[in-house]
């Protein structure tokens, strides 16, 4: 009996066994290897690898919960992650008193509404709600606060935070609900595919940048980002994407292309987030040295925030829906 003959839930079940099995194995190996006494250089390499690995664990667990609990709970879960990410983002930007009402609007109206639109599958409304209506509403509310100081800057920051943390991330649960031809009830595979491909790109880029030691493209923003490493990340994502084609509604070649697109946008998204961190004066926020005491969730989900909308619309465009 081939894999394709199994029922959908059996296929997904197998996927989990395989995924968590591989993860457990890699974690175990990393753990055992951490007992040696490595030099400082190896240690930083190890640390960043562990960081990446942790991100994969988180992604895998989120994926598992969203599959096990159904679309409603998973939408709620991603909504909560969005909330935490936006909270972290707003903490890092310097808002003023006059932004109070706009921020309330963002947190307590825009965020829930966007996820309601996702949950009710109103995809057209969901696509334009933030770029059109919220884009219009936020500056109006800000202007009503009667504070012209750095108005454009402040408004732009709020808009940007909403776009990344709410709009971007909300495309991930939207994948679960996408009604593709011959692909009903299997949205979880697409989320899985996206998460794995993006995490692979991140991990591969991280490793490649250590190995290749290329000159960074933008030293002031990231010491490790180079075009070669980025390409390595995208290539790894493409390979994994092609290998995972059977979990997607795509044929192998389009699956490879989708993997490359998602991986490349994810790592570039991370690069943009590095720039943002530098601007906010945070060097690393991986839980130990953060000004705000934030747990660094934004760091984990940022690649997804950037990759998800591009991936989502590529899929819709590909199938013409």
């Amino acid at each position: 009996m081939g894999l394709r003959d199994l029922s959908v839930s059996h296929q997904v079940g197998l996927l989990f066994v395989a995924l968590f099995g591989v993860l457990a194995l890699v974690t175990l190996v990393t753990f055992v290897r951490s007992f040696g006494a490595p030099g400082p250089e190896r240690r930083t390499l190890q640390e960043s690898f562990v960081r990446g690995l942790r991100a994969v664990w988180i992604g895998a667990t989120i994926f598992w919960i969203s599959w096990a609990a159904g679309p409603f709970v998973s939408t709620l879960l991603f909504g909560f992650v969005s909330f935490l990410a936006l909270r972290e983002f707003v903490t890092l930007t310097h808002t003023r008193r006059g932004d109070h009402r706009s921020l309330l609007l963002a947190f307590f109206v825009v965020l829930p509404l966007q996820y309601v639109l996702v949950g009710t599958r109103l995809f057209n409304a969901f696509t334009v709600f933030i770029p059109v209506y919220v884009f219009f509403a936020i500056p109006v509310v800000s202007a009503l606060a009667n504070d012209p100081f750095h108005f454009l800057e402040r408004t732009a920051k709020i808009q940007w935070g909403i776009t990344v943390c709410v709009y971007g991330l909300s495309h991930t649960p939207a994948l679960l609900l996408l009604d593709l031809p011959n692909w009903r009830e299997r949205g979880a595979f697409l989320v899985f595919y996206l998460v794995i491909v993006v995490a692979t790109a991140q991990l591969a880029q991280e490793l490649a940048s250590r190995r290749l030691r290329r000159r960074p493209v933008a030293r002031a923003i990231s010491r490790s980002f180079s075009w070669r490493a980025w390409l390595a990340g995208a290539a790894a994502a493409a390979v994994v994407g092609a290998l995972l084609y059977w979990t997607t509604p795509f044929k192998p070649l389009p699956s490879m292309a989708m993997g490359a697109i998602a991986g490349a946008t994810g790592t570039l998204g991370q690069f943009v987030m590095d720039a943002l961190k530098r601007d906010a004066g945070v060097r690393t926020w991986s839980g130990r040295a953060s000004v705000t005491g934030a747990v660094g969730l934004l760091d984990r989900v940022a690649p997804l925030c950037f990759a998800a909308p591009v991936f989502f619309h590529s899929v819709r465009w590909y199938f013409g829906i």
Partner: protein, 205 residues
């Protein structure tokens, strides 16, 4: 579990959801010793933030100061401050016969810890205002009680003056090393030293 306990847990959860309420302990671990925490004051939210950032077992024995006329004016306000926070009520109007610090001294004699905001009123962003002398009087009366400075960061962004709904922004409370009154230390010198200890935590945070 009784209603006030449940309400307290719910309130602490909401405070953590909105502000993170991260407590950072530099110089003194969170222990169940009798203490007076003193902090900068920028928002109505300050007390809740300090309270939520304390470990759960310390919350029950750490009490805020509440103005009697305001916090007992409605049954709900009275219930919240009395049942959840176990507040020490003080009168804002000074009567000749009684010492305004008497309720605080009473609480300290009872073995409770206190949280006070020695600026007396909510300040604006920037440096805290000069401290009022209550802290000195308490330190003089109870030399064995630890005086812990605390710096509350970011909270003015959560709820600026005049707003009622808080915006979710991460805040931290940084607790510093205990201070004590030196022998024969002048009142003003001590209060300035205490204020400097609070301000110094801003750099640590």
């Amino acid at each position: 579990m009784k209603l006030p306990e449940v309400a307290g847990l719910a309130l602490a959860f909401v405070a953590r959801l909105i502000t993170g309420a991260q407590g950072h302990w530099y110089g003194a671990p969170p222990k169940a010793e009798q203490r007076i925490y003193f902090a900068n004051h920028q928002s109505h939210f300050d007390w809740v933030l300090i309270w939520a950032s304390l470990p759960r077992e310390l919350r029950a024995v750490t009490r805020p100061i509440a103005a009697r006329d305001y916090w007992t004016s409605t049954p709900l306000k009275h219930w919240i401050t009395r049942e959840i926070f176990n507040a020490v009520y003080v009168s804002r109007e000074r009567k000749d016969a009684e010492d305004p610090l008497e309720p605080l001294l009473e609480a300290l004699r009872h073995g409770d810890s206190l949280v006070i905001f020695p600026e007396g009123t909510r300040g604006h962003a920037g440096d805290p205002a000069p401290f009022k002398s209550g802290l000195y009087a308490l330190a003089l009366a109870f030399p064995e009680v630890q005086l812990i400075p605390a710096w509350i960061d970011n909270v003015q962004r959560v709820m600026p003056k005049g707003e009622v709904v808080p915006v979710p922004i991460l805040c931290t409370v940084t607790f510093g090393a205990p201070l004590s009154l030196l022998p024969a230390e002048d009142r003003r010198v001590f209060l300035d030293r205490a204020r400097a200890a609070v301000i110094a935590l801003r750099e640590v945070a």
